[in-house]
Subunit: 417 residues, 2 copies
């Protein structure tokens, strides 16, 4: 139960740090972010050495090539992490923004002001760059952060968190604003999920399994991120050249991310004209096609899709394809199998465009564009801590303001009720 003592001590310290962080000047926070970036570059040898230990252990344990790649740090990646921190420094500080205000008939002046959330727990997997990203974003929004990375990356994370936490303190940030859970005991995650006394929110960043565990076991409020079974529906009136470009982009440009298309729905009236040339191109790009019966009749390489395929987030060069009778069938399919992430229609029909955007229940609903745009940078937020697929607090790409809460500040001159 040593992990409990560590968690409790870190929770207590984070809470104290949060109280000071809430009133820290923007200048101090920005200076800290630049110092942290500089320190990562100055101490890159130490980071690479720590990372080498993780890589060796990972290879010895037989981790997959993909996992090893996620774990890997090199000079370019370290420079990328530093650059990320400098970008966060350049974003406007969300804390202190007055979102709304009024003067009541009795003279009370009420303002709704953005404040930090407090203490944020981040639970993530093998990517050590999350340590830097999450710490930078939490700091800029005035929050203390408790990081819990994957055990495969423990040496990298310990080294990185020590470097950035030290640099932050040197710049005037309170001690313990950035803390990493040091134990790799798996029980520590479960204990963290019950730390309502210390944590204001937990954000899991990783695969579907991690997110499910966190959502199902956490009593601390969670922001659910990630899973995207995204659809593109090609309407009867679609510009088919546009639809082809969008479908290829949505599937092929980066299949491993949550905003990539997993299922293509095509109106029956254009299926025969649209699908064969598109499927040729997708197959040429290495995509495996799993289709409904009608799709199978249109191309010899199509494998049969099972019920499970419609609900699957492949995160890979695999695409499910279904021919539908009309927009209603497309809407029903999306309501049934979608994960409320990103959905697109390609159409020239004004009413269908409007209806699709109104009726589809998802974080981002597109007309005539690729689902791949669901991203904090593409939306112009300048940063992203993840993409929320829940409806409470934050939905869609989360930037700095999603890492804040509000408080009401009320000024009177003796009002009583």
């Amino acid at each position: 139960m040593e992990y409990l003592a560590e968690l409790q001590a870190k929770g207590e310290r984070a809470k104290q740090a949060a109280r000071q962080l809430a009133n820290l000047g923007t200048d101090v926070k920005n200076r800290a972010l630049y110092k942290m970036a500089e320190a990562l570059e100055t101490e890159k040898e130490a980071i690479l050495a720590a990372n080498a230990i993780d890589l060796a252990a990972g290879k010895a344990k037989g981790l997959s090539k993909a996992l090893i790649d996620r774990l890997l740090l090199n000079e370019t990646r370290i420079a990328g992490m530093a650059e990320g921190l400098r970008q966060i420094a350049q974003l406007p500080d969300p804390v202190g923004e007055v979102i709304w205000g009024t003067r009541r008939p009795n003279g009370l002046e009420i303002r709704r002001v953005r404040v930090p959330l407090g203490v944020i727990g981040i639970i993530y997997e093998a990517r050590p760059n999350v340590t830097v990203d999450a710490a930078g974003l939490c700091l800029k929004a005035g929050n203390a952060v408790i990081l819990r990375g994957g055990s495969e990356a423990i040496n990298s994370n310990l080294c990185i968190s020590r470097i950035i936490a030290t640099a932050a303190v040197q710049a005037g940030v309170p001690e313990n604003a950035i803390q990493l859970i040091e134990t790799t005991d798996r029980q520590a995650v479960n204990a963290m999920l019950k730390m309502n006394r210390y944590l204001d929110v937990i954000i899991p960043r990783g695969g579907a399994g991690l997110i499910k565990t966190v959502v199902e076991n956490s009593t601390v409020p969670v922001i659910e991120t990630g899973t995207g079974v995204c659809h593109t529906y090609v309407d009867a009136s679609a510009d088919l050249a546009m639809a082809q470009a969008i479908a290829i982009n949505a599937k092929v440009s980066r299949p491993g991310v949550c905003n990539a298309m997993e299922t293509l729905l095509v109106h029956r009236a254009v299926a025969q004209e649209f699908l064969p040339p598109l499927l040729d191109k997708l197959i040429e790009a290495g995509v495996e096609i799993r289709g409904c019966e009608e799709t199978m009749k249109l191309h010899p390489a199509v494998k049969p899709a099972t019920e499970a395929d419609w609900a699957e987030e492949y995160l890979d060069l695999i695409l499910a394809v279904r021919v539908v009778a009309n927009i209603d069938e497309a809407l029903d399919h999306i309501a049934r199998y979608g994960t409320h992430h990103s959905e697109a229609i390609v159409t020239k029909d004004y009413n269908n465009a409007r209806r699709f955007q109104q009726e589809v229940d998802a974080a981002a609903v597109y007309v005539n564009a690729s689902t791949r745009f669901t991203d904090g940078f593409e939306f112009g937020f300048g940063a992203e801590i993840g993409i929320s697929t829940q409806k409470l607090h934050a939905r869609g790409p989360m930037g700095l303001s999603e890492l804040t809460s509000i408080k009401y500040v009320i000024n009177g001159n003796g009002q009583i009720r």
Copy 2:
């Protein structure tokens, strides 16, 4: 396990209703609210008869006088519920509001639009009026609602929910938009807390015990409401007449509510002048005083406060009083014992006013006004589903917009990444 079948069936139906509700016109929703109000008044005899059964059972079970009063309905209270629905009809519809929008360099037009949360679970205790309030607010914000009231009020709630649900359907609202859990099996609450598949959020409304149970056991996102250990700090520079009026109002005007003051903090420099006459008046109003040692020296009727008193939400005519050396001691006390609800300073000092509002971490932070103003109606929201004491999604009084989420609606002309 019959309750599981009921919950699942109601969850499934609520989800279907929610899809239709999201696109229901404001006119239909308002017409339904007026019809529901009318039906409550037309069928008041049935409601009173059902309520009489609950009251008789409650008295037989030996429920406290306070609990019986909460349970009690009469013509005035029924008229009050109906009036509440008409007021909700008159509020602007939050759904469809465009909160933000931009055009990106690539031509994509992005709008952030308010949408309903989906399906809301409300878990409450003895007050049957919550059935009406919660149903009305959820409906206006386009949400389906699943209500679970206290078993003491089951007959009243069954009758009321049948009346308003029927009236809503007659006005064009989809079936199953308003549902009440009929079983009084206590296990049903625990099962409801795990219904992530059907419920987008759970809002508990009731005492500290209920809220604790919900927060600790729910895997569905929860909006925590309620507990208020609210402080008033009287600074050395305070206008003492104003401070006296504010203190009396905050404690005495309605001691049983969450925004009432529970602890008074007084700067040592004014304690001797301020406290004796104030305590006289409070005691005259029936308030029991529990004070620190210094307070005890200033008035013979003061009982000694224990450590537990500083953390207690009395919800009664009891007040804890402590003399502090300065604003720092007041801020530390509030940070330690406060529940982040409502806190007030009475002062003429500009810097102390500013510092108090910046440093106190609470939903509402007042200068020179009573904490009793933390209320949706007093803030001008026109309605209130509760007061959130958490930081995620909603904080402070929650009106209709706190019962909504957002979605991003994106219009392009063929953009790919």
